[in-house]
Structures are given as structure tokens and as C-alpha cells.
């Protein structure tokens, strides 16, 4: 299950855990959610059992965020693949 985050919000990780349960989860950070591409947030994502974290290149660049190395930068072509081919479900929150 891919969680496409488009905003910052309180308890994002709690919401992902609620909606995603025990299924395999990945996260794509877009828009202001790109602020979660930092190392401290990656630790929280990983502790919540989220395997991979992607961040949209444009959102990252316009915010000049110091990205955690394990957070993978993706362009729109790659986002299309993630959304259309690599996940059975995409949940935008």
C-alpha cells in the first residue's frame, strides 16, 4: 500500500498505521509533506514498519530540505510507476 502524503499534519504516522494495519507500506512525500524527508522522520517511519520512503524531487528542491540518504528522490515519471504499477492501493492523506 502506498501512502501519498501531500501535507504536514498531526500524527501522520499514527494515521498511516491506522489505515494501513499490518500490510506492507511505502510512503511518497509530496508538497509540504516533503518536510518529512529528514533523518529524524525517517527513523519514525521505519519504526512504524514503513519499508520505503520516497520524496518528490520538485517539493524537495523548492524547500531546500536536508534529505536523509535513505529517502529516495523521485521525479514524476517514477511517481507514475509507483502509483500505476507498483501498488495495489494508493491512499492520499
Amino acid at each position: 500500500m502506498l501512502f501519498l502524503l501531500n501535507k504536514t499534519q498531526p500524527d501522520t504516522i499514527g494515521l498511516i498505521k491506522l489505515l494501513g494495519g499490518d500490510v506492507d507500506k511505502e510512503v511518497l512525500l509530496t508538497q509540504d509533506a516533503a518536510f518529512y524527508a529528514t533523518s529524524s522522520m525517517q527513523d519514525q517511519f521505519h519504526q512504524a514498519g514503513i519499508a520505503h520512503i520516497y520524496v518528490a524531487q520538485d517539493a524537495l528542491e523548492t524547500r531546500a530540505i536536508e534529505r536523509a540518504p535513505e529517502c529516495q528522490v523521485v521525479d514524476y515519471d517514477r511517481i507514475v510507476e509507483l502509483v500505476m504499477e507498483e501498488h495495489d492501493q494508493v491512499v492520499c492523506i
Binding site: 501531500n6 509540504d32 507514475v80 492520499c92
Partner: protein
């Protein structure tokens, strides 16, 4: 047969980056051969109409205008419609904003949830709903 993506866009101009992200994603999906359908719902319906630019000199400085222009994605909606995207707006949310009678951009059609949006879903493989 290629897959289809429906984007349910709940945000309009400037308030956030949902519309910009939606258009960037739609363009990329169309370029890769996917079908794209966009439903303009809630404030998203504000994107459906033709603009009414002020006549004469602008009262904005160039820096502010450049900032505002980033979010003015209306012409790009026309472009992706020309690339094959189906784009429909919700006439009810238009009614609520007093824009129901305004002319649509080229390629954008009158629509509703019960018919247009439901039909989009029934002919799509993936639904994304962007809102704030």
C-alpha cells in the same frame, strides 16, 4: 490496453500545491501512455473556467506575479486535455461558488458526481484524491 488514472482534485488555484501536483502527474502519466481523467470537485471547480484578466497595467510587481504564476495551471489543464485527458467539473460545487454559468476552458466539461465521477471510476484502475 493501457491503465487509466482518475484524479479527484479538491483544491483550486493558489491555496496549496494540489492542482500543480495533479497537473504534473497527469502530464507524466499521459506521456507514458496511460489514460487520465480529472474530476474537479470542491474548490477544484475553480480551475474549470476561462480567465477574465484585468485590462491595462498590472498592479503586481514582477516578483509577486512570478510567484502567482506558478499556481496558475489553467492553461496546462487545456494542454493535458489536448493530450487526451478527460476533464469534468462538478456543477454543484460551481453553483455554490456562483460560477456555474461561466464558460469552461477548452477541453473541460460540465459534470457531476453521480454520472461523470462514477463513470470515471468505472473506467479507471487507480483513483487519487487530492485535498487539504
Amino acid at each position: 490496453m493501457s491503465k487509466n488514472l482518475t484524479i479527484n482534485l479538491l483544491s483550486g488555484y493558489q491555496e496549496n500545491e494540489d492542482a500543480l501536483f495533479a497537473v504534473n502527474l497527469a502530464e507524466a502519466a499521459l506521456s507514458k501512455g496511460y489514460g487520465v481523467k480529472i474530476f474537479l470537485y470542491g474548490n477544484g471547480c475553480n480551475l474549470a473556467n476561462q480567465e477574465h484578466p484585468v485590462q491595462g497595467a498590472s498592479h503586481m510587481n514582477a516578483r509577486l506575479q512570478a510567484h502567482m504564476d506558478i499556481g496558475k495551471i489553467g492553461p496546462r489543464l487545456e494542454k493535458i486535455a489536448a493530450m487526451g485527458a478527460e476533464i469534468a467539473t462538478c456543477h454543484t460545487t460551481e453553483y455554490g461558488r456562483g460560477t456555474e454559468g461561466d464558460a469552461y476552458r477548452v477541453g473541460i466539461k460540465w459534470g457531476d458526481v453521480g454520472q461523470s465521477f462514477t463513470k470515471f471510476l468505472l473506467t479507471s484502475d487507480v483513483l487519487l484524491t487530492f485535498g487539504h
